[in-house]
């Protein structure tokens, strides 16, 4: 591994601009492999992209004019062009703050949570090939299950941030995306094939869990083939971390940040919006969590930010602008991507905003998943919806049950599929919701994508089925 590319530093050193301003630079190399059940479809890469986003702040009419422009043309003419565009857009945009406090100190090469896989960095092509091999090999001896299709994508990301207060900081990270589907077929039932289709985001390509996970996914595909319709009504629902990863960060993304506060969408501090045992925080220093980083996308050193403490709303995430609007300091929570972004492997084209990012839910004392299931008299244990579609404005979610398990008298009695599961994730004090109605909290946290969380059991959601 070498030192990170100093893309932003080079551009910043050439700028002759009145302060304040910032430059966010990235150099990204991307490798993609696509395959179907029997062969390679497409191999892509290395795809190299380098660029910067320039943001300027110009006081005007008692507010701040914000100008932003990004480019992959790093020639003097290219930089000159975006400076002009940023100045022009600053004359047309207004933000309700009078000043910004940009960070001035951070290590030139920032260190922090583990977010860079050395093996992936040094041998990306080989590592992707090795991972694909480890993904497919366990299915070779199986006669009723086969890979349906998949893709593995790896990114080597060099990030650099510079600003007019003298900040020059950088770091390297790796990230990877997996999309994979397994299909089960054959059998005496004569049923149609069943497929288990999943996506995952990681900071590294770790083959170790695959031996166990691939066989679990095979069983999911078999279960899809024989699943029955779920029952209807408000029942207890078990929610494992992989499911919560698709719901919690998205549903909380607006109403727990400074932007939501400006829109008057946040909860009063201390409002009880979740069960007593629920504590949630932004945790950007979680090792190997997707989105963890030593500094945020404005260069502030990252730190944990409590959002919900023992059921009460206690905090919000801020970037420099939204912090300034409330006359406070950023808590290192600026991001240039969102959980709903169409592209997330490069970020220099986006302006920063308060970003929930990696989130952790505190563990409880109710044991492993098997013990949580024992506590469900009549309900389901959800594995996957088509897409939970978390709505950051209303804070609700809902989608089709692709695979779940019926739980009766503390035991799993069979797979269910079809129908819907949904409802509010959080709600006003006193109202029913996923978080307000949590009845059990697992004792072990599992990291999946953006979220580290134990499994939860709630009775605040509605199942719509025909079983």
């Amino acid at each position: 591994m070498s030192a990170p590319a100093e893309t932003a530093f080079r551009v910043a050193d050439s700028l002759r601009l009145p302060p304040p301003w910032e430059v966010f630079g990235q150099r990204v190399r991307r490798f993609e492999t696509y395959f179907d059940e029997s062969h390679l479809e497409t191999v892509r890469g290395p795809i190299e992209l380098e660029g910067i986003g320039l943001r300027i702040f110009r006081p005007r009419d008692g507010k701040l004019g914000i100008g932003f422009q990004a480019t992959s043309d790093l020639s003097p003419a290219g930089i000159h062009g975006i400076v002009g565009t940023a100045e022009q857009s600053a004359k047309l945009s207004l933000f309700p703050a009078t000043h910004v406090e940009l960070p001035s100190h951070a290590p030139r090469i920032a260190q922090g949570p583990e977010i860079c896989s050395v093996s992936l960095w040094d041998r990306p092509t080989e590592e992707v090939e090795r991972y694909v091999h480890a993904l497919l090999t366990p299915y070779e001896p199986l006669h009723d299950v086969a890979p349906s299709f998949g893709s593995v994508k790896a990114n080597l990301i060099e990030t650099s941030i510079a600003n007019s207060d003298g900040l020059r900081t950088s770091y390297v990270a790796t990230s990877a995306e997996l999309e994979f589907a397994v299909k089960a077929f054959g059998g005496s039932e004569g049923r149609a094939p069943g497929e288990y289709w999943l996506t995952r985001e990681f900071s590294q390509l770790d083959e170790a869990p695959l031996a166990e996970e691939t066989l679990r996914w095979a069983q999911r595909a078999r279960d899809v083939r024989v699943a029955k319709a779920p029952p209807s009504g408000v029942r207890k629902v078990g929610l494992p971390p992989a499911f919560l990863n698709e719901v919690l960060p998205g549903a909380m993304s607006v109403r727990f940040n400074g932007s939501g506060r400006l829109q008057k969408m946040t909860f009063e501090e201390g409002a009880r919006i979740a069960a007593d045992g629920i504590s949630i925080r932004r945790d950007p220093r979680t090792g190997w969590a997707f989105g963890s980083s030593p500094v945020d996308d404005e260069g502030w050193i990252t730190e944990p930010v409590p959002l919900v403490e023992r059921g009460a709303a206690v905090g919000l995430v801020y970037d420099v602008l939204h912090a300034a609007a409330f006359d406070r300091r950023s808590n290192g929570s600026a991001g240039r991507t969102s959980l709903f972004e169409r592209v997330n492997w490069y970020r220099f084209t986006a302006r920063p905003h308060p970003y929930l990012g990696p989130v952790s839910v505190a563990v409880g004392t109710d044991g492993e998943d098997a013990e949580l299931i024992e506590g469900i008299d009549d309900g389901i244990w959800i594995d996957q919806l088509g897409w939970p579609n978390p709505d950051p404005m209303s804070g609700s979610f809902g989608g089709e049950i692709r695979i779940a398990y019926r739980v009766e008298h503390g035991k799993i009695t069979g797979p269910v599929r079809g129908g819907t599961l949904g409802g509010p994730v959080f709600a006003s004090p006193g109202e029913t919701s996923l978080l307000a109605n949590v009845r059990a909290i697992g004792s072990r946290a599992v990291l999946t994508g953006h979220l580290s969380s134990p499994s939860l059991v709630t009775d605040g959601l509605t199942i719509a089925g025909s079983g």
Partner: protein
């Protein structure tokens, strides 16, 4: 704005270099420019699209495709990309013939709208967005009207080693308002959101009356009832029925899913899957559609492709690779999100052809059920044959009459059951193509349109 044709000779040279290693190679150069103005309670915000252009290269490696992308159209970027790709074409098998027939000949399509968005200055668009916002805020109970107006120009130059050359410039415009209502920590909203290929005419549906209607709806949703849970008769509004077409049949008819043996529809091609009056079409040439263009990213012209014709499943969507594998013809559905993304078989504008019933007749025939309105998203299940749609709101139908307002709902159903249960489609005076972004799985989002009239069928719904 960069004119990609200025880089044509360089890109052609890069293809000639690749030709020494492969039987076929192609390049898609792309540059997109655009802007967006947004106004909400924090003030106006102007976003200018990044200066980002480059070239996707694809070459046949004997039994699979290899691709790369140059993050610029300058010589250095092109050379770096081509060198990397050439290393992946070292095997002698790369000289084997690529599947299917390549595009040939030269064509271009540059048709600026009669009234381009750039005819007006950004200041004027900010003033227009402020007007949208004022319309929303004039409705009692609305806390804000988050208004947005934007335009983009997507330029694409396609070249291949068979001599094809396609150049197109696709202008798109969009705008509207999200009316937000809040009460005691509860937030609800409704939207007006037209978009399409064209210029200022695209924004015509954003009227004071339309914004007032959405605003009143947002306020009413604060006290909407919770949707019932379970199987029921459903009437879908045009936006939701259009999404049904997209999610139900569209994804399952992308022929790469057939090649992967991953479509529940594959064994039933040619059979009757719905009533005689049901037809579903995908059409990338639809005038003004959000998902319209002049050439796909293999150089093929888009055209209407009937997926279901009078209830019979008759067609699938192809690129050259799937057409070769399945004995079909490219249908103009090979699309890349941008030069950094890979090529896939994708939908364009997918719609259900209008029927001969009225909305009122369908509500009455439903007797007891739910009207679903204003789609927010959908998800396919190509092999399993299920589908999910989420909507912002709806109405309970009791004894053939619309009654209580209902909050957000999710719909679930087995596609073939839902289609066989279609009992009517309404007339439509003018087809309004809804705007959406469609992912291939969970990535590679592209603009797509969808449309339909009101449609009556059965499915399972629940609160969402």
């Amino acid at each position: 704005m960069i004119d990609l044709r200025d880089a044509q000779a360089e890109i052609r040279g890069a293809l000639r270099h690749l030709e020494t290693h492969t039987s076929f190679a192609e390049a898609l150069a792309q540059a997109e420019t655009g802007w967006q103005v947004q106004i909400d309670r924090t003030g106006p915000s102007v976003r200018i699209d990044p200066v980002l252009s480059g070239v996707a290269f694809r070459a046949w490696a004997g039994d699979h495709w290899v691709e790369t992308a140059a993050g610029g159209v300058d010589s250095r970027s092109l050379k770096s990309a081509i060198d990397g790709l050439s290393r992946r074409l070292a095997s002698p098998s790369s000289k084997k013939s690529a599947p299917g027939a390549p595009a040939t000949g030269r064509e271009s399509a540059i048709h600026p709208p009669r009234h381009p968005m750039d005819e007006k200055g950004i200041e004027e668009w900010i003033a227009r967005a402020e007007e949208y916002r004022a319309w929303a805020r004039a409705v009692p109970g609305v806390s804000d009207g988050r208004s947005v107006i934007g335009a983009s120009t997507d330029s694409r130059l396609y070249l291949n080693t068979a001599g094809a050359e396609r150049y197109q410039v696709v202008p798109r415009a969009f705008g509207g308002t999200v009316a937000v209502a809040m009460e005691n920590g509860t937030v609800r909203f409704d939207v007006v959101r037209p978009g399409g290929m064209g210029g200022q005419e695209i924004l015509e549906p954003v009227t004071e009356a339309a914004v007032h209607e959405a605003s009143k709806s947002a306020v009413a949703l604060l006290h909407a009832k919770t949707a019932p849970a379970g199987p029921t008769a459903i009437v879908l509004d045009p936006s939701t029925a259009g999404t049904l077409a997209h999610e139900s049949f569209g994804h399952g008819t992308e022929a790469d899913q057939f090649v992967r043996h991953r479509s529940y529809l594959q064994p039933i091609l040619g059979t009757q899957v719905g009533p005689e009056f049901l037809s579903i079409v995908d059409d990338g040439s639809y005038p003004g559609g959000w998902g319209s263009f002049y050439f796909d990213d293999e150089g093929t012209k888009p055209k209407p492709t009937y997926l279901i014709d009078h209830g019979r499943f008759v067609g699938v969507l192809h690129d050259r690779t799937t057409a070769a594998a399945l004995g079909g013809t490219p249908t103009g559905n090979a699309r890349r999100s941008d030069f950094l993304s890979r090529l896939w078989v994708r939908m364009t504008n997918t719609y259900i052809a209008p029927g001969d019933r009225s909305r009122e007749e369908l509500i009455e025939e439903a007797r007891n059920g739910v009207l679903l309105e204003q789609f927010t998203s959908g998800v396919e299940d190509p092999l399993g044959g299920l589908m999910q749609i989420r909507v912002l709101k709806g109405r309970r139908i009791v004894q053939g009459k619309e009654t209580d307002l209902l909050g957000a709902m999710a719909l679930s159903g087995r596609v073939l059951d839902v289609l066989r249960s279609v009992r009517g489609v309404s007339r439509m005076e003018k087809m309004e193509m809804e705007i959406g972004y469609c992912g291939k799985g969970h990535s590679d989002y592209i603009p797509v349109g969808s449309s339909a009239a009101y449609l009556l069928t059965d499915a399972t719904v629940g609160p969402a």
